[in-house]
């Protein structure tokens, strides 16, 4: 921070310049937002209201924000200039703590303890919100396999989630299948669809892949919405039973808490499986695919097989969570599976840090819990959500906790290739 003592002429000049720039920016925003913020027409009563007061908010708001952004940029530049000597890919303090086995296990145990005690410390309502967040953690981990590790941009991930949810809802409706039987079926069906989607898109790269997966997600949603005989259309399927526990009768509260523990179990399983996968032969093949498809093929890796397994394994988790979603809300309809949902899951992966498990967990907790607790500002929460996504990408594009790759940093002394893959 700059104190009064440091206000040398150069600093003064910088500040004057920044103020002038911010003033111009705020003028620009006043112009920009003029028609939409100021004029409000009522086409039926044919009246126009001019809301001049809004100009002041826009002007002050954009002035302050642009000043803050400038200050942040200046600070970052100075920090970068001071740090040129340091090794460029140093892990954060957070990583260092996690790397130390002495810290790692007690920390994990502490977190697990808090997670287990959570429903008893807070209300069922809180536990319910937490359950949702846990579901998104697993969804994020699943998408992380496809996007973060294998580098295949999938914008239609929500389709697999929908397939899981509908497979439980329909199996229950027609064959009275229970939750525990439907859980693996939902997962496997989603995985099957993952392979089905995977086949045609094997040849596609990057953005073409993105738009085809997006189209696939929309197709699944539109079919669910319009094929009334199959899926009961937009009105959806209700009265889906909650998961049972050896035939035990449970009150609503108990069922919610049971659901919470179920999700904790599933999250732990997902973390374990995804972590082992990433370090397996297959996981390394995915990483190779992400980094360079041609080099990866030249190394003798079967591209078709590993792409399909990435799609299938990613979709599997979405299918599982789909079943859980249907059981939790006891109701499914196509409106829950819009593109927005895919975008939020993708945002979790990117915000947390691609390819990093801890990152995905933090991303899910922030993106799901933040809007829940911002309900007081409910009108503005989606606005804030959009703004946060943009701001995060500008100020920290690698995500909150980037997946640290095994790197070799040569500085003329002993090699310091001590950094592990991910967490």
């Amino acid at each position: 921070m700059i104190t009064a003592k440091e206000l040398t002429p150069i600093n003064k000049k910088i500040i004057c310049k920044a103020l002038k720039r911010s003033l111009l920016i705020s003028l620009w925003f006043v112009f920009l937002t003029f028609p939409i913020m100021v004029i409000k027409v009522n086409p039926i009563e044919r009246t126009v209201s001019w809301r001049w007061g809004n100009i002041a908010y826009v002007a002050i708001g954009s002035f302050v924000i642009s000043l803050l952004a400038k200050a942040w940029l200046v600070r970052k530049e100075r920090a970068a200039a001071a740090k040129t000597a340091a090794c460029p890919t140093r892990a954060s303090i957070f990583h260092n703590i996690l790397q130390r086995p002495g810290c790692r296990y007690p920390l994990a145990a502490l977190l697990l303890g808090v997670a287990l005690a959570f429903p008893h410390l807070f209300s069922t309502y809180q536990a319910n919100i937490m359950t949702t967040a846990l579901m998104y953690i697993v969804l994020g981990l699943g998408l992380n396999i496809v996007v973060g590790v294998a580098g295949l941009l999938d914008l239609g991930y929500v389709a697999f989630y929908a397939i899981g949810a509908y497979s439980y809802a329909l199996l229950n409706l027609h064959f009275h299948l229970g939750f525990w039987a439907a859980l693996p079926i939902g997962g496997l069906l989603a995985a099957l669809f993952g392979v089905l989607l995977g086949f045609p898109v094997l040849r596609l790269r990057g953005d073409y892949l993105a738009i085809v997966t997006l189209g696939f997600g929309e197709i699944i949603r539109l079919i669910l919405e319009n094929w009334n005989a199959f899926s009961k259309g937009p009105s959806g399927i209700s009265n889906i039973p909650r998961p049972g526990f050896f035939g035990l009768e449970m009150s609503l509260d108990q069922a919610m808490i049971y659901m919470y523990y179920l999700m904790i179990g599933l999250v732990l399983l997902a973390i374990f499986v995804v972590n082992r996968l990433q370090h397996s032969r297959l996981g390394r093949a995915w990483l190779a695919l992400r980094e360079d498809e041609i080099a990866c093929q030249a190394m003798g890796i079967d591209k078709t097989r590993i792409k399909l397994t990435a799609f299938a394994l990613g979709a599997f988790w979405a299918g599982l969570i789909g079943v859980i979603f249907a059981a939790k809300t006891t109701f499914v309809n196509p409106a829950s599976f819009t593109f927005m949902e895919s975008a939020i899951i993708l945002a979790i992966v990117v915000l947390g840090g691609m390819g990093s498990i801890i990152g995905v967990i933090c991303g899910a907790l922030i993106l799901i819990l933040l809007p829940e607790y911002l309900r007081a500002l409910s009108e503005y929460r989606m606005l804030a959500f959009g703004a946060i996504l943009v701001a995060m990408m500008i100020f920290k594009p690698e995500g909150l906790i980037a997946g640290v790759r095994r790197t070799y940093c040569f500085q003329g002394r002993k090699s310091t290739a001590a950094l592990q893959d991910d967490e």
Binding site: I36, F216, F385, V390, P397
Partner: protein
């Protein structure tokens, strides 16, 4: 036969509107390789601005011709301003970031703009004033083509022509093509790449705004959420034609518009979007670079 012609013409109308939006996607993609997810919102803002301006002017009793001109110009100006601002805020700082970062910030921008319009205006559907009158000379063919369809077709054809001339012959058009071919090389021959990118955003946004004005007055109502589905459709059209290629975007849009129109007319309007996306998937399977796109061969 009349029914076929009617569907064909309404498909062309639909396709030419998609083309106006798809051009913005394809030009931006051609130059910086970014899917500008906020482009659909720019189109929505164009429609909203023209709605606000046109309704205000009609309340104050201006003649129709003046309303159309002022609303069109205002929509183009403000949409371009939004397009420019979005580029400066959300994409420019991310030029060298990982590939997914600008995509996420585009999605964020899209959510932000939608909710901004929702909060500053309303979430209701608003009746859009009828800017295109029923022409008397169109009476004999009114059963196959409406006046607004005709106006849309002629306007978009003229805009396409102007755009082609601009890209082919003007200084900025040449700079755009050079930047799209090779950004580093363009820098080396003295092209101000940042300015070219901004110009692309401004041009694309203005086209989207005209599209917004035309379609809103054609359909007769608008809402803060119209940008999303229009954006996705237009993007589909751009990919269909081969993203990055300007004639491809127009061709893809027309194909998409016709497919949708015939699917609606002969099959069912429920599955209109399913047909659109299935067409996309099919074309990409058999010709992964789109109809007119260059094959994406990579040399090692």
């Amino acid at each position: 036969m009349d029914y076929f012609i009617e569907l064909f013409l309404s498909g062309l109308t639909r396709g030419s509107i998609y083309a106006l939006i798809a051009l913005g996607y394809t030009m931006v993609y051609g130059i910086i390789g970014l899917i500008n997810f906020a482009h659909g919102e720019i189109y929505m803002i164009g429609a909203f601005t023209s709605f606000i301006v046109a309704t205000t002017l009609s309340i104050y009793g201006f003649p129709l011709a003046a309303i159309v001109v002022v609303a069109g110009v205002a929509a183009a100006i403000w949409s371009s301003a939004y397009g420019y601002t979005v580029e400066q805020i959300a994409y420019k700082p991310l030029r060298h970031a990982p590939r997914l970062a600008p995509l996420i910030s585009a999605i964020g921008m899209s959510i932000l703009l939608q909710n901004y319009v929702l909060l500053a205006q309303t979430s209701d559907f608003l009746p859009f004033p009828k800017l295109i009158p029923e022409f008397a000379f169109m009476e004999p063919v009114a059963h196959v083509i409406g006046s607004s369809d005709l106006v849309i077709l002629i306007t978009t054809a003229m805009i396409m022509l102007a755009l082609t001339l601009l890209i082919k012959f003007t200084r900025i058009g040449k700079a755009m093509r050079a930047t799209a071919q090779d950004r580093t090389m363009a820098l080396l021959v003295g092209i101000n790449v940042d300015r070219v990118i901004s110009a692309t955003f401004i041009l694309g946004s203005a086209l989207a705004a005209i599209g917004g004005l035309l379609i809103a007055s054609h359909i007769g109502q608008i809402n803060f959420a119209i940008g999303f589905i229009a954006g996705i459709k237009a993007f589909t059209a751009a990919v269909l034609g081969g993203i990055g290629s300007i004639p491809g975007a127009v061709l893809g849009s027309l194909v998409l518009g016709l497919t949708e129109s015939f699917a609606t007319g002969y099959v069912s309007s429920d599955y209109e979007d399913v047909f659109a996306f299935s067409l996309l998937v099919l074309i990409l399977i058999f010709k992964p670079s789109g109809l007119l796109g260059k094959a994406d061969t990579k040399k090692v």
